[in-house]
């Protein structure tokens, strides 16, 4: 079924929208949640919450790209769950590694203006990533948005894990420089 038809069902408050979403994007959402949580049961819980959340947000929202819309929801829900579970030292090993990698870009200390600059910063990051060559962009997004493992990214790019690691290291350095040059001392 086309995304437009699924979205129309949400707007029509047709509950089949959820099952159609599940059929078409269930594996996609589950993959993101599993990447972040490394626990299938927790992931399924987040995916189910995603359907509920989507039902509650469409309308008023009218997503242009349904997969990315759903992906953002499941990513947020999964990460919230990760933060909760991580305090209890459960699961999410890969996500912990990813967060440590991000420490090369940020100071990992809390600043009062973090919430204020959040949207601005997001725009700057978007600008930086959009200028990356397609393969670098792909590698960065797979790692830090989809939370893919190095191994998975290497397989998809027909690279070795080592070279993916090198590439990410380089992009992180450039992103940090890019943001610093624009006044984001984060």
């Amino acid at each position: 079924m086309d995304d437009k038809d699924i979205i129309k069902m949400y707007w029509d408050r047709d509950q089949r929208a959820i099952s159609e979403t599940s059929v078409k994007y269930g594996p996609y959402c589950t993959a993101i949640a599993v990447n972040i949580l490394n626990d299938r049961r927790d992931a399924e819980e987040c995916v189910n919450d995603t359907y509920v959340n989507t039902w509650e947000t469409i309308p008023p929202h009218k997503p242009v790209i349904l997969s990315a819309f759903l992906g953002k929801i499941v990513r947020n829900l999964s990460f919230n769950k990760f933060k909760h579970e991580h305090r209890q030292k459960r699961g999410g090993f890969e996500t912990a590694i990813i967060l440590d990698e991000l420490c090369e870009i940020v100071s990992d200390t809390e600043n009062v203006e973090d919430d204020i600059i959040g949207n601005e910063l997001s725009e700057a990051v978007n600008r930086f990533i959009s200028k990356l060559p397609s393969e670098k962009q792909y590698i960065f997004v797979r790692r830090y948005w989809y939370s893919d493992s190095l191994k998975d990214i290497a397989g998809k790019c027909s690279r070795t894990e080592n070279s993916v690691s090198v590439e990410l290291n380089r992009i992180r350095g450039k992103l940090k420089t890019y943001l610093n040059e624009r006044g984001y001392d984060i």
């Binding site: 991000l102 959040g118 959009s130 962009q137 948005w145 690691s165």
Partner: protein, 594 residues
């Protein structure tokens, strides 16, 4: 900003960017490397058990002989047929030449007629020695052979089956190259079991998800397998690479490991225990699971790259074998099982073709790699590896330059590349890792000036670098611009494993008075050979430019923003699978010494 907060910021990426990353970039150039560069490696490990096909009807030797010789009724005879490689300077006609040797015999009157045929294959220099020792062993049963004379020509088919008058002679059969007229016809040559290899989805044609899913399924059991391998890797590398004697030396630890596993399968008692100890295995059950895990985790034949393990058991159709052991070899080692007459052309041809096919012609058996008529079994374990550099070496940058070999300077072609990658170092070495698409990497480890490659096998940092599953997990590393210059090389090496294995504690298997092969056969095994042939080459298309590259030296220590890595002196290379398993390791002392 807290890292968690930044992770959330990244969650707000533009939806078009997120959507674009759902599939790998179209037209990604990673597969257009055909012709750019190649890394190829192949190895064959041969384990050959040679025994007496004829039993002595004496008290201390079993009489349940697999085949009986045609014996003269009255003349007590000892005849030893041995294939030996012809001397290089001697032109040998295309037939088996027997040289009957008169023996000075004491007290043969009570000795029954015995014909013994023995063959040593493919180790010409060792043949005479082996023949002598076997003769002595044979005569222990009642006949003393001390001197030889005379020669005559006999057909090969007869050489193994006919007792040669006169009495008190020892017959030496000279080996001839494999060709149909030299061997008997054998209609019994057959394949008893063919190993079933995983049918991997093709990376390009069958969809990435299918490919990935299948590949992951092969690696389900591989989590801790590399850990078990560490001690064996270091011990065997020290043993087999410690004396490269200015020549190149290569071996495949994984091939040797699998071959030793098969040896453990066919032995019993202390003979087996010594092998299990050397390969750090607790028992056969764990060994089976371990070998399977290694085999499957590293297997690749998917249209991108090949890493193919192959094992085989070559049996003698005149003997009987323990079926459960044969089955176990087939099941646990993916071994194909063959049966035939070792004296036959067809069987030898099949054996040579098998080796050649499994190594994709990289190792083409010499004509003298033939089986002994007295062969009880031959175990063959091969590894073939082929992949393409992930980052090409530009052909236009290839230059002739000087390589400082221990035997003197020599000029050879160096492949050159500027890349941004991790540079690794230790107190005594510098190293780089050259990724090979989808199948692993080649690590080049360059000892500092004044340090030999052999010394690095005892250096903790170097060993750590060689063993680490992923080089980025090694501590001394820096992402810098590296000017890499390494010689194209095509090196091969043949190692007689006996001395090295004995150093590693595997002794009984070479001692016929102690070896116990009862799990595979009741036939006497009087000689046991183990050797490994390996060949590795890396290349890219040749460049005609002729200018020396700038002199430079990689040295230990943390580099600044750029580093030169110039392998212009002896170095170690290690081919590591993408699961972190060391497949090949070697020392290149001279890139031109094939």
């Amino acid at each position: 900003m807290k890292k968690e907060k930044f992770y959330e910021v990244l969650g707000d990426l533009d939806e078009n960017i997120i959507k674009a990353a759902e599939t790998p970039p179209a037209g990604k150039p990673k597969f257009s490397w055909i012709g750019y560069g190649t890394a190829l490696a192949a190895c064959v490990a041969l384990i050959i058990g040679i025994g007496t096909l004829v039993k002595y009807p004496s008290d201390n030797i079993s009489t349940d002989t697999a085949i009986q010789p045609i014996q003269t009724e009255t003349s007590p005879t000892v005849s030893v047929n041995t294939f030996t490689a012809p001397p290089e300077e001697t032109s040998v006609p295309a037939e088996i030449i027997s040289s009957s040797e008169t023996t000075e015999t004491a007290d043969t009157s009570e000795t029954p007629s015995v014909t013994v045929s023995e063959t040593v294959t493919a180790i010409p220099t060792a043949t005479e020695t082996t023949a002598s020792s076997k003769t002595a062993k044979t005569t222990n049963s009642g006949t003393k052979a001390t001197e030889t004379t005379s020669s005559e020509t006999v057909p090969p088919a007869e050489s193994t089956a006919v007792s040669e008058p006169p009495a008190e002679t020892t017959q030496i059969t000279t080996y001839l190259p494999l060709s149909p007229e030299n061997y008997i016809s054998d209609e019994n040559t057959q394949i008893l079991a063919s190993a079933e290899y995983p049918d991997m989805p093709n990376y390009f044609n069958d969809g990435y998800d299918n490919w990935k899913s299948f590949r992951n399924s092969l690696r389900n059991n591989a989590e801790r397998y590399a850990d078990c391998f560490d001690d064996f890797f270091i011990n065997s590398a020290k043993t087999f690479l410690s004396e490269s004697k200015n020549g190149n030396k290569i071996y495949s630890p994984v091939s040797l490991y699998v071959a030793l596993g098969m040896c453990a399968e066919i032995t019993e008692g202390n003979t087996r225990q010594q092998i299990l100890d050397a390969i750090s295995q607790e028992d056969m059950d764990f060994l089976h699971r371990y070998i399977k895990a290694v085999w499957l985790a590293n297997y690749s034949d998917d249209g991108i790259a090949e890493c193919i393990f192959a094992d085989s058991l070559w049996t003698n159709s005149d003997l009987t074998y323990e079926q459960s052991t044969v089955d176990s070899l087939a099941e646990n080692y993916f071994a194909s099982v063959f049966s035939g007459n070792p004296s036959s052309y067809e069987y030898n041809k099949m054996f040579q073709d098998w080796v050649s096919e499994q190594t994709r012609g990289i190792i083409t058996p010499e004509a003298d790699m033939v089986m002994s008529p007295e062969m009880v079994f031959t175990l063959a374990s091969t590894v073939y590896y082929s992949g393409k550099w992930e980052t090409k070496f530009p052909k236009s940058k290839t230059r002739p330059a000087v390589f400082h070999s221990p035997d003197g300077d020599t000029e050879c072609d160096f492949m050159n590349m500027k890349t941004y990658d991790y540079y690794y170092w230790g107190d005594k070495f510098a190293a780089v890792s050259l990724p090979i698409s989808c199948i692993g990497e080649m690590r080049i480890i360059l000892p500092d000036e004044g340090v030999t490659p052999e010394e690095l096998f005892s250096d903790k940092q170097a060993v750590r670098f060689m063993l680490v599953n992923r080089p980025y997990l090694y501590s001394n590393q820096k992402d810098v611009e590296i000017n890499i210059s390494i010689p194209k090389f095509d090196v091969s090496s043949e190692i007689d494993l006996e001395d090295g294995l004995k150093q590693m504690g595997i002794t009984d298997i070479f001692d016929s008075s102690k070896s116990d092969f009862s799990p595979i056969t009741e036939a006497d095994i009087i000689d046991f050979n183990a050797k490994q042939s390996t060949r590795v080459f890396i290349n890219e298309e040749e460049c005609k430019a002729a200018a020396l590259i700038a002199a430079g030296t990689a040295g230990a220590g943390e580099p600044d923003d750029t580093a030169d890595f110039i392998a212009d002196r002896p170095f170690i290379f290690e081919i590591v699978s993408d699961t972190g398993f060391p497949l090949f390791v070697g020392i290149v002392n001279n890139p031109l010494d094939f």
